[in-house]
Symmetry: C2
Subunit: 316 residues, 2 copies
C-alpha cells in the first residue's frame, strides 16, 4: 500500500458519527450534503500549527482532539449545533502510529458531538491541521459578537487561567501532572452551553485569544464599552495561591475555550438554572455601558492600573 | 495597526462576489449562510504548499488564483455551481505587497465565478493555503466517479501536457515565455463545463494527479476497466515536436485541471455541440468495459508497453 493510501485509510477511521444528511462522504472530488430545511448554516475554519498552537511533543490523540475542539468552540460561540467537518492535514511523514493516534482523538470527539468527517486533503510539510466545521442554526437565532446592548451583564463560563498556567509550565521545560496534561490537551468545547444560550444571551464569542482582547472585539462589534471586575473572575483552583495580578494575567491569557457572553440583567435567574443543569459555572464578571473599549476594575469603582495582556495568534 | 489587523484588512479586500445568501461574513466566530431550497451542497478542501504545489517564487497573484482555481476544479468535477469559500492562510511574515497581490488574484477569480469569501484563519508559518469551497447541486444530479457504466465513451476536456512541460522547465531552472507563465500560474477551472455535463455525463473527475492515475480512480470507483487510446490524446500545441512517448508522459502527468468524464455513446452529438458552445475541445480518448484498471493502447488493438507515470501529491 502506498504511503498516501495508508494515510487515507487511517484518516477514514476518524470518520466520526454516521449522518443521513451526508449523501456522499470522503473519496470523490467533493462531499454532497443535504442542508436541513428551516435552519441556516454556521461555518468556521481554524488552523493549528505545531509549536505555535500546541507544543511540538503533544501526543497525536491530543492534536486530533484539540484541533476539532477549537473549531467546535467557534460553533458553540454562535449557538450552532455541529454537523460536518472537513480535515486538511499537513504532516512531515506518514507515521502509522501518529496517524492512528490522531484519528483516534479526532474521531472520539467527532462521535461525541455527532459530527461526520466529510472530506479534506493530506499533504506533506511541517505539521499543521486546518479544519472547517459547519453546524446548524435556527432561522431566527444566532449569538453574534455585535448583539450586546448597553446596560447588560457580561458573563464567562467555566474557570479561567489553568490552560495558560499549564502552557507556561510546558514552555519553561517543567512537567505537568496527569490532570493538568489532560486539561491542557483535551479542552472541552461548550457546545451544549452555546445552544442553550440562543434564547437567553444577546451576544457571545469564545475565549481563544484571552479575556481582555476578546472582550475588546465584542465591545467594538457591539459599539459599547465593557467593564470587567477582575475580583469576580472565576479563577481555576490551581491559581488560588498566586498573587492576584499573576492570577488575573493567567485568567486573561487565552486558550481556555470558554464562552464570553452578554445577557439582559433580567435573565440572571435563567442563567443560574442553566449553570445548575449543565454543572458549569456561569459567572457575571462585568457589565456593558455607553462608550468603547474594555475597562478593568480591581473592585467596584476602583480602576485597575496594571496591564494584563492576551495574545495574538499571528504574533505568537 | 497591528500586523494581524493589517492581514485581516488586506484579505478582506479579496471578498469576491457579494451574495445575499451570506447572512454574516468574515469577522465573527463563524459565518452564517442560507442554503438554497431544492439544492444540495457540494464541499471540497485542498491545501497548496509552497515548493510542492507551486514554485516558491510564484507571484502572489498567481498563488491566490491557483489556490482557488484548484478548489473550483473539484466543484466543476461534481457539476456544482460555486458559492462560498473559506480561506486558511499560513504565511511566514505579513508582507503588505504579497498580501495585496494574493488578495487581488484570489478576489478576481472569486468575483468571476460569483464566489463569496465567508471567513477563514491566518497563522504564521511556512507558506500554505487551505481553501474549503462549497457549491450547489440540483437534488437529483451529480457527477460522481462511481457513475460510469460499461460500454461508454471516455472524454477529456481541453488540451493536455502544457502544465507539466512548463513546470518541468521551471524546476530545471529554465525560463518560460509570458504565455507559458500565464498558463501555468492561472489555470482555468472548468466550472461551466461541469454544470453543463450534469444531464449528459455518467461520471466525472478533475485531472489533478494525472490522466492515468485519475482514470484508475474512476475505474475503481465505477468497478470497471478503462481503455485509453494514447494516439487520441488532445496534446497541447507546444508538445507537437516531441517524441510521442515523451508527449504522452507530459499529457498524463497532471496539473492540467481539465475534466475526465464518461458518457453513453449516444451523447456524442450533444457533446460536440457543447464543445462548440464553450469553445473547448471535448475529446473521446477511450472507452469503458468489463474488468478493472486502466489499459493504454498505442492505437486500436495495440497495447502500449511503456510506462507513463502520474504523481501522488503526498510523494512529491
Amino acid at each position: 500500500m502506498s504511503e498516501f493510501a495508508l494515510i487515507r485509510q487511517l484518516l477514514m477511521s476518524a470518520t466520526g458519527a454516521p449522518r443521513s444528511d451526508v449523501q456522499l462522504g470522503p473519496g470523490d472530488d467533493a462531499a454532497i450534503l443535504q442542508a436541513p430545511a428551516g435552519y441556516r448554516l454556521a461555518t468556521s475554519s481554524d488552523t493549528l500549527i505545531a509549536g505555535r498552537h500546541f507544543p511540538e511533543n503533544t501526543v497525536p490523540e491530543a492534536v486530533g482532539h484539540k484541533a476539532l475542539a477549537v473549531n467546535l468552540s467557534d460553533l458553540a460561540a454562535m449557538g450552532a449545533k455541529p454537523a460536518w467537518v472537513s480535515l486538511a492535514l499537513t504532516l512531515p511523514e506518514a507515521s502509522e502510529v501518529w496517524l492512528r493516534g490522531f484519528a483516534s482523538g479526532f474521531g472520539a470527539l467527532a462521535a461525541e458531538y455527532g459530527v461526520a468527517l466529510i472530506g479534506g486533503d493530506t499533504t506533506r510539510g511541517p505539521l499543521s491541521v486546518t479544519l472547517t466545521v459547519t453546524g446548524f442554526l435556527p432561522e431566527s437565532q444566532a449569538l453574534l459578537r455585535s448583539g450586546a446592548q448597553i446596560g447588560e451583564s457580561v458573563y464567562v463560563s467555566g474557570r479561567l487561567g489553568a490552560a495558560a498556567q499549564e502552557l507556561g509550565q510546558v514552555l519553561q521545560g517543567g512537567s505537568l501532572s496527569p490532570d493538568q496534561r489532560r486539561h491542557l490537551d483535551y479542552p472541552q468545547p461548550r457546545v451544549e452551553l452555546g445552544q442553550q444560550l440562543l434564547p437567553v444571551a444577546s451576544s457571545a464569542m469564545d475565549l481563544s485569544d484571552g479575556l481582555l482582547s476578546d472582550a475588546a472585539h465584542l465591545a467594538a462589534a457591539s459599539e459599547l464599552a465593557v467593564d470587567i471586575d477582575l475580583s469576580r473572575l472565576p479563577l481555576a483552583e490551581s491559581l488560588a495561591s498566586l498573587p492576584r495580578e499573576e492570577a488575573w494575567a493567567l485568567a486573561s491569557a487565552g486558550d481556555d475555550y470558554e464562552l464570553l457572553f452578554t445577557a439582559p440583567n433580567v435573565e440572571s435567574p435563567r442563567l443560574e438554572a442553566l449553570s445548575q443543569t449543565l454543572g458549569l459555572p456561569l459567572t457575571r464578571v462585568g457589565r456593558t455601558r455607553e462608550g468603547d473599549g474594555v475597562h478593568c476594575f480591581e473592585r467596584d469603582g476602583v480602576p485597575f492600573e496594571g496591564r494584563l495582556q492576551g495574545y495574538d495568534h499571528f504574533l505568537r
